[in-house]
Symmetry: D2
């Protein structure tokens, strides 16, 4: 089988030419001065993009590694968490916390809705001894974005530590770590940043460090240890690696960050993702399909989730679209695998007419398999939305 | 300005990942055994793809170089040519012949029509002393494909040398050099083959060599000399270059040829281009625009020419589409520059949903500028045509 | 500062052109059929290269991750290990075991010597209740290679599980997992294979799986869990990833494996590394420097460790060589950091005249800083050794 | 056969990583605004590097194309040239002039010597009606550099047009077009600039344009026509290409120029080449071999020519070195093919320890074939020379 012509999935998303050139650049020794400077530089720039002066730690291993490190670092038997759940990832994070012995208060909404900050306030009032609050900013499995800013205010007022999974939010929607009182967050390079997968970009603030230091069960001397990074990297001069970093991934992520900066910066990147999301949703609706998100106000900028219509399966449709049109889309994830399609519009896929390709491929694929959709209306809606949005930007 | 996301022009067309990797591979010394073998190998494979056992010569310089070499090689004062004209390039070739002192009989049809083999037969009967017949197989400037096979029969019956410009035909429509009695042709790597521009892939048969050898004015000791290649390369052991070949271009073209072979071979490539052309034309018509070709039977597989509607200029539309949608299309060329758009569907752009991008970008761009088009109908027609064509191939 | 011209370190080592092209190839969705096939294919080929039919697991994270996963998977409080130590890494592994509550019997030799299988036999006789035996096949920090085959026989006779760190041995010296009775080993892609760093290539046999399954403390539901791979990948149909794999690293490692296979296979690769090691040692001695290894019979094929002479520091010499000659070498590691230089000859650096560059750069650098060395003799010895070795291969 | 590890030839020389990334970047449409700007930008920067405000024309086709265009552009029957010959290329240029009907006065020195400006002055005095003077600045086939500056003064005083082949001089030794009164020169991208081969970088001043315009035989309407560039590009707004440029070659050359500028500029580049030449010559002499240049004062910076000793042939030695050591070197060219070896030190090969590799590979190769050389002395001399030269630069 040939490689796909278009990768428009929920991530890893296709990399830009600049990122690919960086990935294919020479593999340097990790202590080569050029590489060391690139690594330190990347830490600094990530802090700027995330609007934070907290410490940035580049862990090796994709987000599940970073999130496990966080869960273990902040949990001992009986630690009381409020876990806010509006999707698969948050639900799993709660499972992990419980497995570690945490006492977990759960606030869960249906996976096609967003969290309500007022409910968070109410729950914190009910449970004043909650020590940490966790949420997923943008739930990639269902394309739902939660109001991190407002929840941040609420948690800050209460005083608990705020832990946010911003894996797929970073680069595609606003994330202001310091202003929003986020104590610890994990971002991913392979979503809206469109770098290679394989790293966890972790931000840790002083309160989170203190909580870990006070936690006897926080990993130490382990690949899962954030504290090791604290003592041997952050508090040192950031020149002695804990282990060999994944050089080419770092090269790729650094290039993705530089490209984002050179393409108008973080705000322009967010605007691109917002428009791509809007255009994709317009297209999906015009096809005659149903968005997963109950309300578009909390539909994510990174990926659009679409309910799978009757009469076909998600697996069947994706295989057909891949084989006939060379377009790779995603289905849902976890419990949602059979219920929805996901059209990614991250990184390069948030530019130009990529949303048109995603919407039309899905629409024509469904039509091929007997579902009644209006391919033309879908395509026209995407194009018209992009046109209007671009006009606002360009002129 | 950012680089475009989509290059869907009349060529150079975008290169595949494999071709790009080859272009970026190490620049070897031209006499390195690995490079020399690659060069010889490329000559052999091109012969196979063009269905010929004639000599293949890889000239450095894009098609105008190859065509000038051919014109000069076969012309002395008074040489009688029948030049068959259905487009800009053939017209210019006639000018070149006249500038060289040739006596040129011209058979010209409007540039939105194809040549008629019967007229060729009639003209050869009228001018039995015609020594060479020239035509352009596929006129890229206007997207018209001529019946080379039938004309080949006619010319063969007459006995004149047949010279064909197959620059943009090669790789996208059938070219059977030997069966069709073509004595000399020039193919291009940067069109349907989707290699880098910068070379002329020239096939020369024994009758053409003889004619050049008999021509006192044929270039010798010149960059324009095919005879130099004959004496110093073809008749030698093909190991002593006349000058330094453009190593990375050769690497790129060799990779393009290998990829074509590995993707189902020449017939599959032609089928892809045929389908892409059909889908693009369906889309253009459904947009409500007018194809340039009077009859789709001779619309080219490589590029679709579209009449520019009233109220806009081609330059204005292309700049808008490039700026707003990151899509690069072509306008017409030469005398047709202001009269038509050209949507390229060559190489990678003949795959997947690239025609959808081209048609929708043009349609939305025109709509933005006030032209009444039906973007949805255009997109739907492209998708439906590809769907039907793919279904035929896959199942 | 410019990038170095030569990276001749203890790893990561420079990647070949083919590996770099693969690293720079498109980042595919991990469930794209092309990627999934590439991943499965890589598992199979690694098994072939390691001469094993045991399960291959591709963990994300460089060797420290794989080794921690192994230590935790096979240890509960009181598990009795015999840890064989001839270098820094084995020593650290013992620390990790003790931190996990293992009872560790240590057999340690000076770090410039290799392990003696007879001593292992004696210790196992003394400690018949030892359950696992661990060793590092090739100690990269000091360039010492241990007799894994012979130790394997001894451990097999005893019946304990044999765990081997073959990180830098793989690809550069013989590793026959099944014949040598290795139950579990961790190989690295960034050493002799010359792929990108960031993965642990883990082989697990049935006895090792059983031991982990019987271990209540073996990680489960964790990034560190080999058992998760067992239940959710190996025993499944190897199609549902535990988390997003590092796509471009996998691409790079797959290309490195393919290149090794296409370059004469694993035996030819070993021969290249053996010759490069021999040539480097000849050069170092001819310079007038002292090898770290007390006896060349156990000097490693991957890297040559050289004692730092009086009057200079390793850091000073390496910085000078990097700045003046664009050559990146390594110093020692851990407790050996200030005591030795390491010249890497892995992957591409085991080919051609790279050892000449390493030896001469070190020699001239030392000379520049006032150490008396014979640069010419060093260079000549390298060249002569390669000449003799190549003559044996080529003719 | 594997690709070579080192390409240290007389050119094409190996390309840097940055150039290779540019060669492998997307193939843009030639009228894409990004490409057009890159093309114009390249013209401007080349002018700066060549210290000229004259017009820069980027012809497609390697130097023989540019030189033929120059010869034809400036010659009609009876045009009187003084051709200065110190090597193969100048000799061939004279042949070309004579074939075009020029009256050629030749001043020839043995090919292992440089031209003497005083002799030029004398000849011009003898032949006051000479209209054009031609020379090769740096004779790549024999590694001889001529005193262009001094000859420029002499020709300027006389008033003839000065035409210089600076193909392999550009980027490796000083070329000040305007200060030195050069009216027309042709530079190459594939020598010291280390870009891809396939272009002629031509500088044309007003007197040269005027001479061409006055020449009825100057090519017009031809691939060989500089005048076409004048009328349709230079005098136009430099936006309408005469034909499709070789996009990826232009990308590569532009990157090479940018890299040169970012690496300290043209003077630093010249210093690198000068040092590499000096080191190579020291090494060759210490091997016990004889330099081709009678006097090192005029040995070229780009390539070092070495007399082939008795008992071996150049072809045999080069094949042996390529096969055994993976190093590609050059033999002589034209009449010198069997008489000398050429070790290239251009572009990346002028950096770091590449001269060490070239000298040692040649030395060991000769030793393998029975020639008595002192490999160690050769290597030591290279390293010591680079050491001394680098010390001067760094400190």
């Amino acid at each position: 089988m040939n490689a796909p012509e278009f990768t428009l999935t929920a991530g890893p998303t296709m990399a830009s030419d600049r990122v690919r050139a960086a990935l294919g650049s020479p593999v340097l020794f990790d202590y080569d001065p050029v590489f060391l400077e690139r690594f330190n530089d990347l830490e600094r720039k990530l802090g700027v993009l995330l609007h934070t002066e907290k410490d940035v730690v580049l862990m090796q291993g994709e987000a599940v590694l970073g999130l496990e490190a966080v869960a273990r670092g902040l949990t001992t038997r009986g630690t009381k968490w409020l876990n806010l759940v509006s999707g698969v990832y948050a639900s799993w994070f709660g499972d992990d916390l419980r497995a570690l012995g945490a006492e977990v208060v759960t606030y869960e909404v249906p996976f096609d809705e967003a969290l309500d900050p007022e409910q968070v306030r109410r729950l914190l009032a009910e449970h004043p001894d909650v020590e940490r609050v966790s949420l997923v900013h943008s739930e990639t499995p269902s394309g739902i974005e939660n109001p991190l800013r407002e929840i941040g205010e609420v948690v800050h007022a209460h005083g608990a530590l705020l832990v946010a999974d911003v894996v797929s939010a970073f680069g595609g929607c606003e994330v202001r770590v310091d202003d929003w009182h986020v104590d610890l967050c994990v971002a991913g390079p392979q979503k809206c940043l469109a770098g290679p997968p394989g790293m966890s970009l972790v931000v840790v603030g002083p309160r989170a460090w203190a909580a870990m230091e006070a936690n006897p069960d926080a990993p130490r001397g382990s690949f899962l240890s954030l504290l090791d990074w604290k003592t041997r990297w952050v508090d040192s001069d950031r020149t002695a690696f804990l282990f060999t970093p994944s050089v080419s991934d770092v090269n790729g992520v650094a290039a993705a960050v530089d490209e984002l900066i050179d393409s108008g910066g973080i705000d322009a990147a967010i605007a691109r993702h917002e428009l791509a999301g809007r255009a994709t949703r317009a297209g999906v609706k015009a096809l005659g399909l149903e968005l997963w998100a109950k309300d578009e106000r909390y539909a994510a900028n990174c990926v659009t989730a679409v309910r799978c219509p009757e009469g076909v399966t998600t697996a069947q449709v994706l295989a057909h679209v891949r084989e006939h049109y060379g377009v790779m889309l995603s289905k849902g994830y976890g419990v949602l695998a059979t219920r929805l399609f996901r059209l990614g519009h991250m990184g390069p896929a948030a530019r130009s007419l990529y949303p048109l390709v995603a919407v039309t491929a899905l629409g024509q694929g469904l039509a091929d398999l007997g579902v009644e959709v209006d391919v033309g209306a879908g395509a026209a809606a995407v194009a018209a939305t992009i046109s209007a949005g671009r006009a606002a930007v360009v002129s």
